[in-house]
């Protein structure tokens, strides 16, 4: 469900959501919620809010869906607890590690909001037990949002794609059933797998699950393919340089998908007229 949002509409939505949010917290007449700083990227033009080396058009970077639990935390003016899960979730010790970057990027894009990122490197295949371990980790940390880098281990183990989809859908719907938001991140792109049918179908399967479960998806695969194509002609250091770039950009890309997803119209909280116009039929 890739949504195409025109710049003008996005600004409109942004204002409307901001208004709706402040309306919803009218009982606390304090500061209105600052709308996340999401302004107006054309879906096909490189998103200027990203740093230059990571600049990818929105349409290549994410598909959107509502993030109700995060929105609720924002309305209640409390810290947003994020659980980052995935194979390259490094430690909080290193300043350059992904969880630290994610926390920084989220706090920068949502000023006045405290964000706590915890990370867990759940290794193994979700089809063979990692999904169970993820449930235990979610129960242990009880976050508002799970940012889940999914699929690398399963794809490398070449598990059956249907089984993988089923397991992923089960787990995502379980997390959502407990009022916790999910953002999925698909595996990274690398040129040596570009012609691998299995891998293509695998990435597609994640996209389908994200759409059917209505959770935002960070299309790391598409984004990195775009960056790779753009880098052609410049000196290239093979797949490893691209992987390094993708790794450095991931926190920004995830943050962008989250902030833009927060602008998704919320049918129950924003009955304001004109909202439905924001969503073009695809």
């Amino acid at each position: 469900m890739a949504l195409s949002l025109s710049p003008a509409l996005l600004v409109g939505v942004s204002l409307a959501v901001g208004a709706a949010l402040s309306g919803a917290v009218a009982q606390t007449p304090a500061t209105p919620i600052p709308p996340p700083q999401a302004t107006a990227p054309g879906p096909e033009a490189p998103d200027p809010s990203l740093s230059p080396e990571c600049r990818v058009p929105g349409s290549k970077l994410y598909t959107l869906a509502k993030l109700r639990a995060v929105k609720k935390a924002l309305m209640e003016h409390r810290a947003v607890d994020v659980l980052a899960v995935g194979s390259s979730s490094g430690g909080l010790g290193a300043a350059g590690s992904y969880p630290v970057r994610l926390e920084d990027a989220l706090e920068k894009s949502m000023p006045d909001i405290a964000v706590e990122v915890q990370s867990r490197g759940v290794s193994g295949e979700i089809v063979y037990g990692a999904a169970e371990r993820l449930r235990n980790v979610v129960a242990e940390t009880e976050p508002d949002l799970v940012v889940w880098q999914v699929g690398t281990n399963d794809a490398l183990a070449r598990v059956d794609i249907e089984e993988f989809s089923r397991s992923l859908a089960d787990t995502v719907s379980w997390i959502k059933s407990h009022g916790i938001d999910v953002v999925l991140i698909d595996p990274q792109y690398t040129a040596s797998l570009a012609g691998d049918d299995y891998f293509d179908q695998f990435v597609e399967a994640i996209r389908k699950v994200a759409a059917s479960q209505q959770v935002p998806l960070v299309q790391r695969y598409e984004a990195m393919r775009y960056l790779a194509a753009r880098a052609k002609g410049q000196a290239s250091g093979g797949g490893f340089r691209l992987a390094d770039l993708g790794f450095r950009c991931m926190a920004e890309h995830v943050t962008r998908a989250i902030t833009v997803s927060l602008l998704e119209p919320d049918a129950t909280a924003t009955p304001a007229a004109g909202q439905s116009a924001a969503r073009k039929p695809d």
């Binding site: 990370s119 490398l156 070449r158 990274q188 690398t190 040596s192 797998l193």
Partner: protein, 366 residues
């Protein structure tokens, strides 16, 4: 000389093969391992038998108990051996992942099995993996074993004074860590150890005490037999739960939640109970197999006699098979060939270790 095949070595060999196959996710043989049909798996069996073997080791030929100092030194020296093995196989695994990533020009491979931080955050992760605080996926049993061997002298010596007290201490440690969710941390990645040594020590102690009781308490054997039907019921129940994917929802169970969930890290009560059920249900199976399949018994017992070497080679071999499956695309024939080669390698390892201990080693005089 090599000891004759016995039930302990046989089941240890069986556990080693099961672990080898289960560490190659997605291969065609995986569905035929018993781990798929219960809520506990071969890890429990491996740790329990390690405890049992400690019991065997500390008694001399005549059955007399060796001096306490000797037992402590024996356990510490084993701990050093296991730690050394863990360092070697982790280093080899990291090099295999990095080498395969270079050869296939595929950076995904260095993210596999939790290896990512070693390459993206090398300064901290190097300290992490050498101190066992950073563990690669599937390379997490030996770190558990290192800590268990460190704890073992306390329990083994306490058991000389009072066995019941030893069990009570072990159970208390288990219960406290389960209720308060106490575990060793992982580092630099956030999180904790895949196998919580403070909970899993209970299985080692149970294995050790079971050996001692078996030697000296006739009532133990009587009750073991009497409880066999209960074991069969537990195994059947476990099979139903596993096949139907029924398990408690960790966000819905009451606190303390680890008393109710099926969590491997903390060896939660359901897993422990299921494993005890397996022990009871299968206690006389070795006696049935031995006369009917002597070759199989000899092979598995040879693996079990040399468990550390076989486990280490098996860990590296299972990673190799995963890399082969990935690069070839997998499939039935690849699985049969690669897993088959792996099993032959395990058998060769056991033979080779015993050959080395029989033969004069030229390297030792160099």
């Amino acid at each position: 000389m090599m000891r004759e095949p016995n039930a302990i070595d046989f089941w240890r060999g069986f556990a080693l093969i099961t672990i080898f196959v289960n560490h190659i996710p997605g291969n065609v043989f995986q569905d035929y391992t018993y781990s798929q049909y219960g809520i506990s798996d071969a890890a429990e069996l491996f740790v329990f038998l390690a405890g049992w073997s400690i019991g065997i080791a500390i008694h001399g030929r005549g059955g007399q108990t060796e001096p306490a100092a000797r037992t402590v030194l024996r356990l510490l020296s084993r701990m050093v051996e296991v730690y050394r093995a863990q360092l070697v196989i982790t280093a080899v695994a990291l090099a295999m992942l990095a080498g395969a990533a270079l050869a296939l020009d595929n950076p995904l491979l260095v993210e596999w099995h939790n290896a990512g931080p070693v390459f993206t955050d090398p300064i901290q992760a190097t300290v992490g993996w050498v101190t066992l605080l950073h563990q690669l996926g599937f390379f997490n049993i030996l770190p558990l074993y290192v800590v268990l061997l460190g704890l073992a002298p306390a329990f083994v010596l306490m058991a000389r004074i009072h066995r019941g007290l030893t069990l009570a201490m072990s159970l208390s440690l288990y219960a406290v860590c389960l209720v308060d969710e106490i575990n060793l941390p992982s580092w630099p990645s956030e999180g904790h150890w895949f196998f919580n040594p403070f909970c899993w020590q209970l299985l080692l102690v149970l294995g050790f005490l079971a050996h001692e009781w078996q030697r000296e308490t006739p009532a133990f054997l009587v009750w073991r037999r009497r409880l066999m039907p209960l074991g069969i019921v537990l195994v059947a129940l476990g099979a139903v739960l596993a096949v139907l994917h029924l398990r408690p929802d960790p966000l819905l169970v009451p606190e303390p939640r680890l008393l109710f969930t099926f969590d491997k890290s903390y060896l939660t009560p359901a897993r422990l109970l299921h494993f005890l059920g397996i022990l009871l249900a299968f206690q006389s199976v070795f006696g049935l197999i031995q006369p009917r399949a002597p070759w199989l018994v000899r092979q598995l017992a040879a693996l079990g006699r040399n468990s550390l070497a076989v486990f280490s080679v098996g860990s590296v071999a299972s990673l190799a098979v995963q890399l082969v499956r990935f690069s070839t695309g997998g499939g039935f024939l690849v699985d049969v060939f690669a897993v088959g080669c792996g099993l032959c390698l395990l058998a060769f390892t056991a033979w080779f270790v015993e050959w080395r201990s029989r033969s004069p080693r030229p390297s030792s005089s160099a």
